[in-house]
Amino acid sequence: MIMKTIKYLGLLLLITLTANSCMDEFLQEEVYSDLSPANFYNTEADALAAVSAVYNNFQYFGNELWDVGTRFMVVSEATTDIMFCNWYMDTEGYTFSSSDGDFLILWNHCYNTNNKANLVFEKLPGIEMNEELRNRLIAETKFLRALTYFNAVRWWGDIPLITEAIEDFSGIENVSRDPASQVYDQIIQDLNDAIAVLPVSYDNAADAGRVTLGAAKTLLGKVYLTRGMGGDPATANASDLQAAVNEFEDLMSDPYTYDLAADVRDVFDYTQENTPELGHIFSQQYSQGLGYEGTWIAQNMQAMELEAAWWGYSAPEDWLQGPDGFAHSWEQTGLPDDSTWYFIPHDDRLLYLFEDYNNMMWMHWCKKWQYESYQGWAEHPQNFTHLRFADVLLMHSEALNELRSAPDAEVVAGINRVRARANVPEYDPANWTKETFRDEIQDERNRELWGECHAWFDYVRKGMLVERMQAFGIEFIDEDYNLFPIPQQEIDNNSNLTQNTGW
């Protein structure tokens, strides 16, 4: 009897053990309504979608819903003497601190983008797909990671350099800062990897906004220029100036077709986007009518009449209207009282900068971001321009000016193309010294690139932030301001993170 019982128990055990071998499968969590790494990264379409998700992060730049773009603008341009802005942190009084949400959001955005990119590098090699396409997608993503880190390393200096996808908690809680030089090495490595693979252009119209070879070279040139100008002593490398010039000069000849649009307004015409001949190199893409694929940043950039309204506004600082700004090429007419200035503009860029240039004081309607009228939530189609040819020309002049003992015809060639297009007098190199022209190039950049998030980077690159902001009235500013504070919340939650000096 007992033997039989044991036999029976044994049989039961056998059945259950057999069942047990299927147990892992039984206890596997099946996902149906959601996507998870378990049911994704299998096909070519998955690979394309994974890369699109990285691009998607840059869409945040112009979407009010997430507001990253406005904060990008606040941190990178409103922190200078050329843009007034009453959005978020106090850039006018320069009293921002590590607790300001602007820095946290940009920090989070940087690492969120970075992680998506790292996941692409990890997952794409395992997908069965067209080899050429795989390599190109990885190259595009390398550019996007480089662009992300390039912004971050300029804002914060030493930052955690994370090059592997994070899939769970293990190992993320104790990340620490890596030297900025290492970050630059990674950026240059990524861009060179991308340059080896990327095409000059795409045949398919639907791919027009993807990263091109020209975009990677432009960014690489800018990276070299940044180190070459030596604004950050920790990463200064004067020999990079020539490397920058080489990249910029490549872009001015075959196979590239970059040129300046004859009419400056065409650069910001959404129906002619992604046209190298108009100077487009790389832009964040926006579309209308596709459901939250447009930008909202326009709303924040065109708000003069809405000064008292709920969304605040951004505008050129008053001095830009004066003789040191656009007005240096204006004729002052009418009644020059304190409240109303009338100008005859000589600078065509005012045509696209301001809605009503005759009354700049009261009409700071930035037309770079304006498309007709309100299009609904995140439905404005204008692209956000990251890289364009005028920038390349100006950087070329900037680098060359440093390499020569004094400005010459080659130095002024680039900047004069930009000025000629704006219908303002060209520079005669004889009138300038290396030092004065360095300053003048920056003023020209401010006029050409106002509202495109360049000024703070430019000032720091050239080591002129302190000087310019002190002259602007921010007297307490010192060299510590060449880096922004690491977001306080990150430091609070990670004892390995140190703060930048002075913050």
């Binding site: 049989l11 206890l27 378990a38 699109s52 990285v54 989070n108 899939e167 992604n274 596709l290 990150e490």
Partner: protein, 1054 residues
């Protein structure tokens, strides 16, 4: 697999052989026939149905209707006489052939068999804390859902009605809440089938913003089918349910057929229902007066001046007073006398080989708000068959169809989207429900926009719920004492919500008809394989169970909606007819599965020393990859002191037992897919007009995610006197829950912080909390004999405290959820879960002198601009400024203690049963009163009548602030203590002995909610609008008023 039946056959043959052997051997011994009569010591009458058997064997017989028995037994053997409600007797067989036995009643029914997890045992053998309710107690209340039966009846069990709406949700806490973020409802097991009880699966009604699921998923189970309910409270009892045992387990056993007793029973009742406590609101005269006063105080234009305002004529207060203009009591307009009717028909019976119990039920409860209601049609068939010597099979199957018609209570604060109660309390009494043509006033001014009458009468919001619960089992007897039970069960639920707001309602008028359909379904499958072993060796008795179970649940649903219909005729039946189709349509599906090993050994030594060891290993798909399996052990011991000779010699105690247990259980309700990495859709356009799908990571994996763990220790003491006529039971427990699921802020460098939303959180097991409490239960049959009086009472107190939260410390839970449900909950170490932290009021400024005295250290006024009659706020932190930092705990929803008392008087055929319950020391947070108790703006709508006693320069002796007060609090918290005569029933049992065809018959009258004693100004202090939420308790959000029900019923057994 072919070997199995062979093996079985072998075993059977062996058993048969063994039986033959016994049959052959037995006659060789000195056997004699013993006959006798069993009588009761109480009244000397014979007791039929007594089990008479030879100790240590299964041989036995049952006494006849005359109490007589006859049995063959050896000399030296011991006969055991047992009968439920009598104390067992053991009598040795000597030379006698006649044995007349007198049995003493056992009022505590220690011989009663109590259902426990995966088995049953004698009540006297229990080592854990198990509370029982039997059908005769359940039947004495007109309950519509089975959890209501436990309300106030069992110590340690707190049952709160989330909504008093017919079929409304109920939440149950056993020994306090063990969690903050997870489900804290107990596990319900019906006839062995663990079932789904999370009301969240019920589709919400879409734009009816903030509506908490109103239908109770368990309302589909007909309470009249229930034979008994066991509540497993301590870890010794619940550890066998492992990762689902932490919140306690409710075992429901339905009625089954009995051998030799066939009966056809009908039970029915009909009742009328009226609101038990109406909130009085201001009439039109008072409303106009107060609002003019407010406007005057604020320097705003007067509205009620006998001229047009906002394009509509507004009378003077006098015109409303003298009746020139009408006043509307909007609550009266939406309330009605409700009805409830219930029919129950059941047939049961059986032979030795087959037993059956089949029932059908129809319940229709209209409720007291126009347009609402609940009805249920259910049926059940429980069958048992003895197939052959080694096989028994059976099933428990029930099906129910429930329809709940939403009356619009428990709605959010957006009254115009359909909260009938909300709208009725806000609508201005100066307006009328109908215009001169008899049409609804829909687009009137002010808060009449949400005409509650139009909504109650015209809006459709129905939920149809179908539920099938079926469990089939076979029991194979392997050898003497060893059985294998294999069962398979299914629990299938479908929910379908149909909603239509016609153009006669406000929101319907905006959208030109607004319709939606929501569907969800749940399929739950179970397989259980249990080996049971029962054996007695002399003074040792072992009862063991070992098993393996698997369960899987699949949930899915979809939803679609449309607006702008050419006609109201379509309602929700033709969404395609709506011109606007792009309102969210979605579908979803999820699944979880669980596999478990379980085992328990109960060891009984000499009926005095009882030991129990339990263990369960649960593997769950919900757990993270690195924590797939959890193990939950428990240990318990009990000492039946009253069985000791020295105690029996005392002759005082008929029962005394002390028991102690310790064990660990889990809460696996940690949400689905929370441990998995997730991807989200992030599309991008690579050129103007070309949209390309993008998919990227949205959440990182948490392979360590696991159950919440509860360790519990329990000590129980029970004592009985006078044949257990008087019993006391005390239990003390301590529970500590660790690994609480808490949301942690993620580092940005993780890469998973969405750049837009800033702080991204991640679930991790880090918090802990404790519950400790005392339970007292007493039963006393005060009078026995012709006039009977029995008393039973319970008293229960629980203390809950948070021991650890996130690293960050205190958390204020607010945001989306809280806005809807109201009440700002504050969590901090050292506090109980659910308390509210707000600014603190210290009365009102009665005069200028008080105002002048309310200054800080520098002599500056603490409340600049305040006037006499304004709310006086307290500078809690003493910094000389009153601002958002001056907050303190203003209320705690957890009661100090709760109790329930039942007295039953019986004389001849009459029985009077009175049930009183109460709760003391709990607070209620009533967000809807913020609007109706604070005179701040006319758009908040009408005010409760108490506001008439507002402060004015002439009326300073009041605690109601002046109209248009400058300082107001954003909350209303009240003492929610109450004592309630919950139910009174007078039963007359018609003498049926002399009527051949009648087995029993009774008629009764029942009054529910006869009287309530409370200071709470709302409809009912038994309120909990947030339903099953673990951290939101005691919140009253436009609740359905409770009802006083008077009903008449009959029961007939043929």
């Amino acid at each position: 697999m072919k070997s199995t039946p062979n093996l079985c056959g072998n075993v059977i043959r062996r058993i048969a052989l063994l039986l033959t052997f016994f049959l052959c051997v037995v006659p060789l011994m000195a056997q004699q026939t013993i006959t006798g009569t069993v009588t009761s010591s109480e009244d000397g009458t014979p007791v039929p149905g007594v089990n008479v058997f030879i100790k240590g064997t299964t041989q036995g017989t049952i006494t006849s209707a005359e109490g007589e028995f006859s049995i063959e037994a050896d000399r030296g053997a011991t006969l055991v006489f047992s009968y439920v409600g009598m104390q067992s007797r053991e009598i040795p067989v000597g030379d006698q052939t006649v044995m007349d036995v007198v049995m003493e009643p056992d009022y505590a029914r220690l011989d009663e068999v109590v259902v426990i997890g995966y088995g049953s045992m004698k009540k006297s053998d229990l080592t854990g804390a198990v509370a029982s309710l039997k059908s005769d107690e359940i039947d004495k209340q007109p309950i519509t859902s089975m959890e209501q039966a436990m309300s106030g009846k069992l110590a340690g069990v707190e049952v709160t009605q989330a909504s008093h709406a017919p079929g409304g949700g109920i939440s149950v806490r056993i020994r306090g809440g063990n969690s903050i973020n997870s489900n804290v409802e107990p596990l319900y097991v019906i006839d062995g089938m663990p079932i789904y009880s999370n009301n969240n699966m019920i589709p919400s009604s879409g734009p009816n913003d903030g509506v908490i699921p109103q239908l109770n998923l368990l309302a589909g189970l007909n309470p009249a089918d229930i034979e008994r309910i066991e509540v497993l409270k301590d870890a010794s009892a619940t550890a066998i349910y492992g990762a689902r045992g932490a919140n306690g387990v409710v075992l429901i056993t339905t009625k089954r057929g009995l051998t030799g007793r066939s009966i056809v029973e009908y039970g029915g009742y009909y009742g009328i229902q009226n609101i038990s406590n109406k909130i009085e609101m201001l009439d039109a005269y008072q409303f106009a007066t107060i609002h003019n006063e407010m406007a005057t105080n604020r320097g705003e234009p007067l509205r009620f001046t006998g001229s047009e305002f906002d394009g509509i004529y507004h009378g003077t207060p006098e015109e409303y007073r003298n009746g020139t203009l009408q006043s509307t009591d909007w609550l009266d307009e939406i309330l009605r006398q409700g009805t409830i009717k219930n029919h129950q028909l059941s047939v049961s019976g059986g032979t030795d080989r087959a037993k059956y119990a089949i029932s059908a039920n129809y319940l229709d409860n209209k409720g007291i708000i126009t347009g609402g209601g609940f009805n249920r049609t259910s049926m059940r068939a429980n069958l048992d068959a003895n197939v052959n010597k080694w096989l028994d099979i059976g099933n428990s199957t029930s099906y129910s169809y429930n329809k709940s018609i939403n009356a619009g209570s428990e709605s959010g604060l957006q009254w115009f989207n359909g909260g009938t109660i909300s709208a009725a309390m806000k609508a201005w009494p100066v307006f009328q429900p109908y215009d001169a043509d008899g049409n609804y006033n829909v687009t009137g001014t002010g808060t009449l926009r949400g005409n509650p009458v139009a909504f109650a009468n015209e809006a459709k919001n129905e939920l149809v719920n179908n539920r099938l619960v079926s469990n089939l089992f076979g029991v194979i007897t392997i050898t003497d004492g060893l059985t294998l039970k294999i069962s398979g069960g299914v629990d299938m639920i479908t929910n379908e919500r149909s909603r239509y707001f016609p153009t006669s309602t406000y929101s319907g008028s905006l959208s030109n008809g607004d319709a939606s359909k929501n569907f969800s379904k749940s399929l739950n499958l179970l397989n259980e394989n249990l080996l049971n072993y029962n054996k007695t060796f002399g003074v040792h008795s072992i009862n063991a169970v070992m098993g393996f179970t698997m369960q899987q649940e699949v949930n899915e649903g979809h939803s679609a909606s449309a607006q702008d219909f050419p006609s109201d005729v379509y309602q929700d039946n033709n969404l395609g007819a709506g011109a606007i189709q792009d309102i969210p349509s979605y579908s979803w599906k999820n699944q979880w599965s669980m596999a478990s090993w379980l085992g328990r050994i109960n060891y009984n030594l000499m009926d005095k020393y009882l030991f129990s060891v339990t263990g369960r290993a649960d593997g769950s798909s919900k757990f993270g990859a690195d924590n797939k399996w959890a193990f939950f052990p428990s240990f318990a011991a009990a000492w039946r002191i009253s069985q000791e000779e020295f105690m029996q010699n005392l002759g005082v105690f008929s029962n005394m037992k002390i028991r102690a247990s310790y064990g660990r259980t889990g809460n696996s309700e940690i949400g689905l897919y929370n441990s998995l990495a997730m991807l989200g859709v992030m599309s991008y356009t690579f050129a103007e007009g070309y949209k390309s799908p993008g998919i990227g990571p949205s959440r990182m994996a948490n392979p360590d995610l696991k159950w919440e763990t509860t360790d519990q220790a329990d000590i129980g003491f029970e004592v009985g006197f006078m044949n257990n006529r008087l019993n006391f039971l005390v239990d003390a427990y301590y529970k500590k829950t660790t690994d609480l699921l808490m949301a942690i802020n993620l580092l940005g460098t993780s890469g998973y912080v969405d750049p837009g939303f800033g702080a991204e959180t991640h679930l991790r097991n880090i918090g802990s909390l404790e519950n400790k409490g005392l339970e007292f239960t007493s039963n006393y049959d005060i009078l026995v004999g012709t006039f009977k009086w029995s008393f039973s009472g319970n008293f229960y107190m629980n203390r809950n405290e948070i021991l650890q939260l996130t690293e960050g410390g205190a958390i204020t839970l607010s945001g989306g959820g809280i806005d809807k449900h109201g009440g700002k909950v504050y969590l901090d170490v050292g506090l109980p879960v659910g308390v509210w932290r707000e600014r603190v009021q210290d009365g009102i400024f009665n005069d200028q002198a008080e105002l002048d005295g309310h200054v800080n250290g520098d002599g500056e006024p603490l409340q600049p601009g305040a006037m006499p009659g304004d709310v006086k706020l307290v500078d809690i932190n003493g910094d000389g400024v009153i601002d958002g930092n001056d907050q303190d705990i203003v209320g705690d929803p957890n009661p100090d203690y709760t109790f329930g008392i039942t007295n039953e008087f019986a004389y001849k055929g009459f029985t009077l049963n009175i049930f009183i319950k109460g709760s003391q020391g709990n607070d209620i947070n009533a967000p809807h009163f913020v609007h109706s108790k604070q005179i701040s703006t006319i758009s908040n709508g009408n005010l409760i009548a108490d506001m008439w006693n507002r402060w004015t320069p002439e009326n300073t002796d009041t605690d109601v602030p002046r109209a248009g007060c400058n300082y107001l609090l954003g909350y209303e918290v009240f003492d929610g203590s109450y004592i309630r005569i919950k139910n009174v029933r007078l039963i007359y049992n018609i003498p049926a002995q002399n009527i051949q065809w009648l087995q029993n018959a009774q008629v009764y009258v029942n009054i529910e909610n006869l009287a309530t004693f409370t200071d709470y100004p709302g409809f009912d202090p038994e309120v909990n609008s947030a339903g099953q939420s673990a951290w939101q308790r005691g919140i009253a959000l436009n609740p359905y008023p409770s009802m006083r029900t008077v009903l008449f019923g009959v029961k007939i057994g043929l």
